[in-house]
Symmetry: C2
Subunit: 154 residues, 2 copies
Amino acid sequence: MIKLFQYNWMVRDEWFERCKQVPIEELLRNRMGGTGSILYTLFHILDVEYSWIRGIQGEPDIQFQYENYKTLEQVKQLSDSWNKETKSFLDNWSDDLDSEKITVSWMEGHYAKGEIVRHLIAHEIHHMGQLSIWAREIGIQPVSANVIDRGLFK
Amino acid sequence: MIKLFQYNWMVRDEWFERCKQVPIEELLRNRMGGTGSILYTLFHILDVEYSWIRGIQGEPDIQFQYENYKTLEQVKQLSDSWNKETKSFLDNWSDDLDSEKITVSWMEGHYAKGEIVRHLIAHEIHHMGQLSIWAREIGIQPVSANVIDRGLFK
């Protein structure tokens, strides 16, 4: 499972790099579908990952307001700072945790930890697919979505 | 790993169902980014999955021409018919296979089997993310990308 998180983080960092060439007004511009903008997509991916990774560990949710992170650099800094906590949790992941159930404050019901980690993997890839369409619309080449050829299995 | 394939197949079938309400000319229409159209995206996902699942088993690649599958029903039939072979392979998947290397006819280099199955998972989710943008453009609600609440961990 960790390999797909590693993949997501590589792709995410490449998108941060790629977006440096995009004017901030294009990153903020309202677009059809998805979360509505390129920058908010990046923020939303982080926010959802961090909330669930805290939730899975029984930590209370922390609310972060997008209004306070309206530059690419600020969103990238959030990504870097939260990543350490997420990595440290996933480094200790084992398949025995798959079926353990938890509850979180922002949703009803019980969720298996294995369900949540897979949800996070798919959530990020899904939104990156959306970015790839918007990238073409503004004339930049999307980041490759390939898992192969990234050196993840060397 | 199998859970994320099961997720992908559920989402894929929901897209086939959702696309029934879309006129064929909209499914075939050239669009910006991605594979260029909704129907070709669905065909491409199947084609890539089947090629790699055959390749991973040492079976020769079979060429399928998109020109022969230009209706939603035909692409759905392909999906159903190939799915049995893919499921049967994945039912016998074990993590021991992760690091086994293979070669395929259409690419240079050696690929780990674990790299390929993860590539297929991410490949489909990525393209479904693209469909979700195009769906909004033509006024239909995208299929949910949630892994949670699908009963995969009951």
